[in-house]
């Protein structure tokens, strides 16, 4: 437990009617139900799932276009480049761009909150008794905690 000076509490709340968490399994279930964890999970999935569907769709469209519309793909664009070559190079460009976007999203919106939850689980596991479950667990600098609350905010 750290001093709350300059730090903001992340509270992992017990759900109503939940059994007292004495073992690791109980702690994990409790964390899984906590708003802080659900926020981390929501942020991860809201970025990763739609973007995965999008780039797989874009890749399949590229593959299907080559066999469904070869004439369109063979149309010249500039110099020796045709639509197919440009689309292929665009696949490379989107792969690099999405890699950068994912890394940025994870760094800004997920890493700080995940670090706090990891700390919370570690503390709870070490305490290992039910009495302290209602106490707030404080960790991490204030700006990290703010990142847990304000979804979508950029710095």
């Amino acid at each position: 437990m750290r001093d709350s000076d300059g730090r903001v509490a992340v509270t992992v709340q017990r759900t109503a009617g939940g059994e007292p968490a004495r073992d690791a399994a109980g702690i994990y279930r409790e964390v899984q139900r906590s708003p802080a964890f659900r926020e981390v999970r929501r942020r991860y999935r809201r970025f990763a799932f739609p973007v995965t569907v999008a780039f797989l769709g874009w890749y399949l469209a590229y593959v299907l276009a080559a066999i469904a519309a070869p004439e369109t793909m063979a149309r010249p664009v500039a110099g020796a480049l045709n639509v197919a070559m440009v689309a292929g190079l665009a696949q490379f460009a989107t792969a690099f761009l999405l890699t950068w976007a994912y890394a940025r999203h994870a760094r800004l919106h997920r890493d700080p909150a995940a670090r706090e939850l990891r700390w919370a689980v570690a503390v709870k596991t070490l305490q290992g008794d039910a009495r302290s479950q209602r106490r707030a667990i404080t960790a991490g600098p204030a700006r990290d905690a703010r990142a847990v609350r304000g979804p979508g905010e950029l710095r």
Binding site: A24, A25, Y28, R29, V31, Q32, F37, V40, R41, Y44, A48, V51, T52, F55, L56, Y59, L60, Y62, V63, L64, A65, A66, I67, P70, M73, A74, P76, A78, G79, A80, L81, N82, A84, M85, G88, Q91, F92, A95, F96, L98, T99, Y102, A103, A106, D111, A114, R115, L117, R118, V121, A122, T125
Partner: protein
């Protein structure tokens, strides 16, 4: 080929092997005999090191020689490989790398066992991972044999056979001595060599055309004998419906298979945190993407400088396009520059194969010792051997799988390397990826679903290959005299990947036992936060 070529390339190659063995001895010197050390190299590699190692593990000889050769022969249609192999890494980065680092230890089965009943999932996942690894190993062995025949002037089946045996034996010794630490270092060295060689060749191609890419493509189209059709889709995969479907099937296997390759999953255990795993994949994507962009330049460059007919005359599959291009760019046959560049490219290609064989052998030894033996041995009443015992089993398993791969490599010498790699990707995408994704993201997933998913992807993939034109019923088949072909496509991915997903869903909804909510909670919290990670 003159005698000078044949002397320099083996000399460089021998130097690489000796360096590699020295690294293994150095890495093995400080080993502690723990499983953590043998499978994960102590988990303390930096993201940059692991990024190079991932690139080293992933970029096989099929990438270096095969893709450039296909582009030199078929133009645009060859380029689709480059795109598929790169886009696959987005699946790994977004859905797999960090979560696997957080809740896995060494193998795919570790991730599953975090929330499912251990015994059945370990046996199923261990077996499918082993199948993928052995297929991949055979492909690399066959590639090594062909390379020797093509590059070093070794003629006849005896030279190829001996190459397969020597390459296999060397890498078994290497993995047994050095474990993951030595294997990671050989990947790093190889990745640096491969990237260096590719950059030099690419720069030389661009200099030849004064940096004008349009002139390069126009010359390539002219000298291919196909005109502008060379730069458009359809030369290889446009003939009929079957070949088009085959192409989609291959494309699906390539993009989904990477995330299920056991030796790629094992790489995430060598870094300390999920953040390091993510950063190492970002490094790997930068290296791999840059590499595949350069293979496109090399492929069109080979068509433009040599002409497609010259490439085809040297090797019908196009595997010698890059070495021949190096010879020409260095000043032509007989010149000192050409000789040196040719020898360097040949040595880099061998280093590539050796490193990939080492990585896959290690992954397969983990499947056998950590998953299969540890689980099956417990039932037969043998006492738990502890980590030291398991490492001893893993060393024996590395030797065993190496021997099996050598044997199959000798049998399969006439199979196409790219096809074997495509098959390994298809099996990985059908048997390993569905169970991994369900386990990471589906709360209701059960043990029965996991086993059905693995079996439901693995068996159709293997069965469809046996019934495909690759095995029988066509002139190029493994058994050209027989005809029991029932499935028209060469690559099973289009059918077997959906079947793997379907079987996993079906097994879960028909499961008599409910999902293990506590296990799922622990796996989910650990995978997203890194709590309690090994």
């Amino acid at each position: 080929m003159t005698g000078a070529h044949q002397g320099l390339a083996p000399a460089l190659f021998t130097a690489f092997v000796l360096t590699a063995l020295a690294i293994a001895a150095w890495a093995g010197r400080q080993r502690r005999g723990s499983t953590e050390e043998f499978y994960a190299g102590g988990r303390l590699f930096s993201p940059l090191e692991n990024g190079f190692a991932i690139a080293g593990d992933y970029l096989s000889a099929a990438s270096f020689l095969g893709i450039s050769g296909l582009i030199a022969l078929y133009g645009y249609d060859g380029m689709l490989y480059s795109v598929g192999f790169l886009v696959a890494w987005l699946v790994v980065l977004f859905l797999v790398a960090e979560l696997v680092r957080n809740c896995g230890r060494f193998t795919l089965a570790d991730v599953l066992a975090a929330r499912l009943r251990e015994r059945p999932v370990r046996i199923a996942a261990g077996f499918s991972s082993l199948t993928v690894s052995v297929l991949y190993l055979v492909a690399q062995m066959v590639g090594a044999g062909s390379l020797v025949a093509l590059l070093l002037g070794g003629t006849g089946d005896r030279a190829r056979g001996w190459t397969v045996v020597v390459v296999g034996a060397l890498m078994v010794v290497y993995v047994t001595l050095g474990g993951m630490r030595a294997t990671t270092w050989i990947q790093i060295v190889k990745a640096v060599l491969l990237m260096g060689g590719t950059v030099v060749l690419t720069v030389l191609v661009l200099v030849r055309f004064h940096g004008d890419v349009s002139a390069l493509l126009t010359t390539a189209a002219d000298r291919s004998g196909q005109g502008r059709a060379f730069l458009a889709p359809g030369l290889r995969y446009g003939h009929d419906l079957t070949s088009r479907l085959d192409f989609i099937s291959l494309g699906l296997a390539l993009v989904l298979g990477t995330a299920g390759l056991p030796h790629i999953l094992a790489r995430f255990s060598t870094v300390p945190t999920a953040r390091a795993a993510r950063r190492s994949v970002i490094w790997a994507i930068a290296l791999i993407g840059g590499f595949y962009l350069m293979t496109i330049v090399l492929g069109f460059g080979a068509a433009a400088v040599l002409g497609s007919d010259a490439v085809r005359a040297s090797s019908p599959a196009g595997n010698t396009a890059v070495p021949l291009l190096a010879l020409d760019l260095g000043g032509g046959a007989g010149s000192t520059g050409g000789t040196i560049l040719f020898a360097v490219v040949a040595a880099v290609a061998f280093a590539t194969i050796l490193a990939v064989v080492a990585g896959v052998t290690l992954a397969s030894s983990a499947s056998v010792a950590h998953d299969l033996c540890a689980t099956l041995g417990r039932r037969t009443g043998r006492a738990r051997r502890g980590p030291r015992g398991e490492v001893a089993v893993a060393r024996a398993a590395a030797a065993g799988t190496g021997a099996v791969a050598i044997g199959l490599g000798l049998l399969a010498q006439n199979l196409n390397v790219a096809f074997l790699v495509g098959l390994a990707f298809a099996v990985a995408a059908s048997a390993n990826l569905p169970v991994l994704l369900y386990s990471l993201f589906w709360g209701r997933f059960t043990t029965r679903g996991a086993v059905w998913s693995v079996v439901g992807g693995l068996l159709p993939a293997l069965a469809l290959v046996v019934l495909s034109p690759v095995v029988s019923g066509s002139p190029d088949a493994l058994f050209p005299g027989l005809d029991f072909r029932l499935f028209p496509l060469e690559n099973p991915g289009l059918v077997s990947v959906p079947l793997g997903f379907l079987a996993g869903w079906l097994g879960t909804v028909t499961s008599p036992e409910p999902a293990d909510a506590a296990g799922h909670a622990e796996a989910e919290v650990r995978s997203l936060t890194g709590a309690g990670a090994a």
